[in-house]
Amino acid sequence: MSVRFILDGEIVDISDVDPTATLLDHLRYRMSRTGTKEGCAEGDCGACTVLVGELDADGTRVDWRAVNACILFLPMIHGKALLTVESLADGGALNPLQACMAANGSSQCGFCTPGFVMSLYGRAVGASGHDLPVEDVLAGNLCRCTGYGPILEAAATTGALTRDDAALAQQLRDLASGETVAGIYGDRRWFVPRTADALADLLAAHPDARMVAGATDVGLWVTKGLRVIDTLIFVGDIAELRTMAETDEGLTIGAGVRYAQAHAACARLHPDLGELVRRIGGLQVRNAATIGGNIANGSPIGDGPPALIALGATLTLRSHMGRRTMPLEDYFLDYGKQDRRSWEYVESVHIPRPAPDSIVHISKLSRRFDSDISAVCGAFRLDMADGVVTQARVAFGGMAATPRRAPLCEAALTGQPFTEETIAAAADALREDYAPLTDVRGTAAYRIDAAVGLLWRLWHGAQGEAVSVLEAQLG
């Protein structure tokens, strides 16, 4: 079958689709839409930012989200709408955002500019993440020339813009289908299932298939690793996996829920979890990457799992043979090795709501605050009763081959009064919990010292001291 999507009111129909061909290359070299730029081909610079639209759950409105076209495989846009920088030109006239940016020095070399235009246009028309501070909306757009000031000014002075997407919504409804889309390209094959059952059946039939949700990781296997993937199953369009349930007990997040969608609910569960989610990639990445994907790929530096483990999350896997649920920490067996059979997929993760008097602290340390991978990611949940730690859950990323709990530190805290002495003892214990590696993100010595520093940050924060440079004010 062909990949079909809607661009500027027209249906684009691409047959004979290489399933790992990127949208960016297709736009630039097959459609002569060269306004969208390649800066890095790995989803880190935002020069390729485009807006992807799809019908909301009611099937009435078009929800837009900014994504990186450089790591978006063509089948992933099937059935959706697309806006590129060229789409915004209304008979060559600049929209108010573009006019402001052109006049106020928002561009110097101009190469990153189309990406900024798209991110800010998305913000102006209510796309995913539009209610975030503008610096967050732009965390995935790198500019090397301007210092960002005029761009931020343009965002601040340009108000909301309106779009009439009624006709587009109808086009999307016409394009919609509940059937699995499949294609063959040479000796490779690809599938876009629409239901959880269809996914389970596909995995049973193709246990060697590579599942791809947002492609923010697998995308780089192709653009950088030049890997050839024989069978791909694109799981991003399964509505059942894209649901969340928020109850008094906790938060259940479907594996297909994107980080940007989960952000608010995570922040409601605990502000630190919200802050962690905010700092996972730029908005374009959070608009593509899924919680399930971040768990499923088992990265030792994945930022989600340490926090979820500390919070006591459980993971549910599903297959054509049924479901099984496990504590999240049990899923990570060893470096690159997870407790998932090839025909299983991650269905959901459940995060219990911390007790009101529990002390929860989650911190991510990286060279740069936004859009960076952590050197150390630490998370703590201390359940308290009468000033005594009744249960301690401590987990770290970046300290071992997998996201892992800190049993010695936990033992030093459990049953102890919440005092400076207890923290000091727990800090000593924490030094024994891990033997981290030295790599490009930090030395082993720094990782240990910083992990201990995070435990102390928890303590000082609990005493009401200012501990976050992000919250520090001038004066």
Binding site: C45, M101, A102, Q108, C109, C112, G147, P150, R367
Partner: protein, 769 residues
Amino acid sequence: MADRAPLWPAIDKPSHPHDSAHLHVIGLARYVDDGAEPADMLHLAFGQSEQAHARIAAMDLSAVRAAPGVVAVYTAADIPGANDVSPMAGDDRLLADGEVICVGQSVFLVAATSRDAARRAARLGRIDYEPLPALVTIEEARAAGSLIEPTQRMARGDAAAALATAPRRATGGFDMGGQDHFYLEGQVAIATPGEDGQMHILSSTQHPSEIQHLVAHMLHRPSADVTVEVRRMGGAFGGKETQAALFAAAAALVASKTGRPAKFRCDRDDDMAMTGKRHDFRVDYDVGFDDEGRILALSLRLASRCGVTVDLSPAINDRAMFHADNCYWLPDVEIVSERLKTHTVSATAFRGFGGPQGMLAIERIIDDVAARTGRDPLAVRIANLYGPDRDVTPYAMRVEDNIAPQMIARLRETARYDERQAAVEAFNARNNVLKKGIALTPVKFGISFTTTHLNQAGALVHVYADGSIQINHGGTEMGQGLYIKVAQVVADVFAVPVSTVRITATRTDKVPNTSATAASSGADLNGMAAFEAATTIRDRLAAFLARTHGCAAGDVRFTPDGVRFGDQCLSFATLCRKAHIGRISLSSTGYYATPGIVYDRESHKGRPFYYFAYGAAVSEVVVDTLTGEHRVLAVDILHDVGRSLNPAIDMGQIEGGFLQGQGWLTTEELVFDANGRLLTHSPATYKIPTASDRPRHFAIHLWDGDNVQPTINRSKAVGEPPFMLAISVFSALGRTIAATAPDKRALPPLNAPATPEAILRAIAGHRAA
């Protein structure tokens, strides 16, 4: 002119937006990779060295040749002329010849029908290496005595003797890292063969003439057969001064061999691994001073990792020496500069060109002197400034335009430095985990290429019979706003709207033998050359009017309302039409060479700079002493651009330059492993500032004085100097760390970049000192 639509949507000067801004925001500004690809175009990729230093024992490229889509594979033996893409020393190979000298070096060249096919095939080469000794670090190269060129010495007086008699003396040292340019548009070139051996090259380069000459030599053709064109770059920052040649030459080789157009668009990771970066430095010093913190003697050793070839390292390290005084009088001084050769990718030009490294060294020394005397660092800075009878640099140039004292005084007041310093101290007394710091540092940056002959430029101005104007000059547009500045200069000469001036791509067939657009000199040189060209035409028009209308040429005035003479007035377009019919040439070249500069590199004495550009910045930072995390809270800048050609463009350069400098000194860390492999070769691991790293309070003001030299419009260069204002961030971070043990009269052992890890280490070191 009102009767015809403008050529482009220009607004009134002087703060006209970037000439391409209306195209940038709509995605219609064309970069090299944006043109349609001819069906027969070939796409290129390099097979790269896996080793830092090795003899190539054998190379099996059969799998590369057999790979799908591959049309040709070339090695050094296939190059018809010189196997060289270096700017001066002749030591940069287009393709390795028998030996590899750094990881990522280009060894063979693949041409295929698609970029994907070329990249895949390039990974199939089998190279057998016989490893040779490899030097990776400054320490290793120093121990081995491995140098790019002899160690240079710039000195005045007797530093050793003055050190021996100084009341106080301190020794110290620190390391500062390099920096990747991270231009958003990677290296790219397209070569299209023409008739009779000619070659046209579209290249994203700051130096079209150099590429022209290198390609000509490589193809064994005269330079006249090669034309290089660049309309704009997607950022450069020095990284496309010499580094673009490799990709352009590769494209030209394939185009020449196959007769087909060839494009080399380099992948980001390959670009970062294969192309040069800012030099990293090791600084060691021995400084003598008095109780007031006045420096009496300085012995400074600057050692840089130059990488494996010469590239521009001699001039870059010279500039580090030139700026090791910054704004300060150093009575007895010795600056020794070691240029170390390592088996890493050759370091190259980057905004500031060694200046930032030299300047960071002296600012760090000042901070050390302040720490040891217990005096406020700003007081120590002021006590050491150049002034009357203490106004000669270590290279014997008199500082005639010194405005640093006045600028510092004004910024101190407007930024409320003293008040905020007190607030910072109060904050630090109240807080255990978070600490703050504030610093004011000045900048004095010498303007001119220190290689004197490079200070020349040409321009070509055409006035058409309808009064529209086309300009061309040797400068290239990398986003800095050079084109609009030069267009404004030309429009001013004729008193016409800038919208009647069409700015065209830089081409070696229009203006020959140009210098790189570098050293912040673009507007100074090309603006003046364009001014000369336009003035020549204006004078012809005036003479024509005088002859035909019986007035004096000197009475002809070009005004926004038209060309006035006596009581008559003609529109500019009408005059042009009449002049054309009157057989007056409406086209002229213009040429400019900077006057009055001379430099003797043997003695390191002379007047290498036409003038200095100044600036000062106050930065306030906060540090988390538990983790080393930090933020820049506030920045106040006062910067000197002379009489600005375009204040908005200049402000953009100042802000952008500052943030790039902040990145150099904070988040941007290059990590090489012990085998000389760059580990930070992508934006996933190499972190330039994002929007949230921009200080929330960021105030920039322009100094309101003219250039004392007769530059174009009395303006000053602005490209590089603001970069070094970010040294105030590093200085503030050092003071913040010092606040973790305020009783210690020592400078915290902080290296650059001040990553969280570097800061946490410095805190531990300071507490243990």
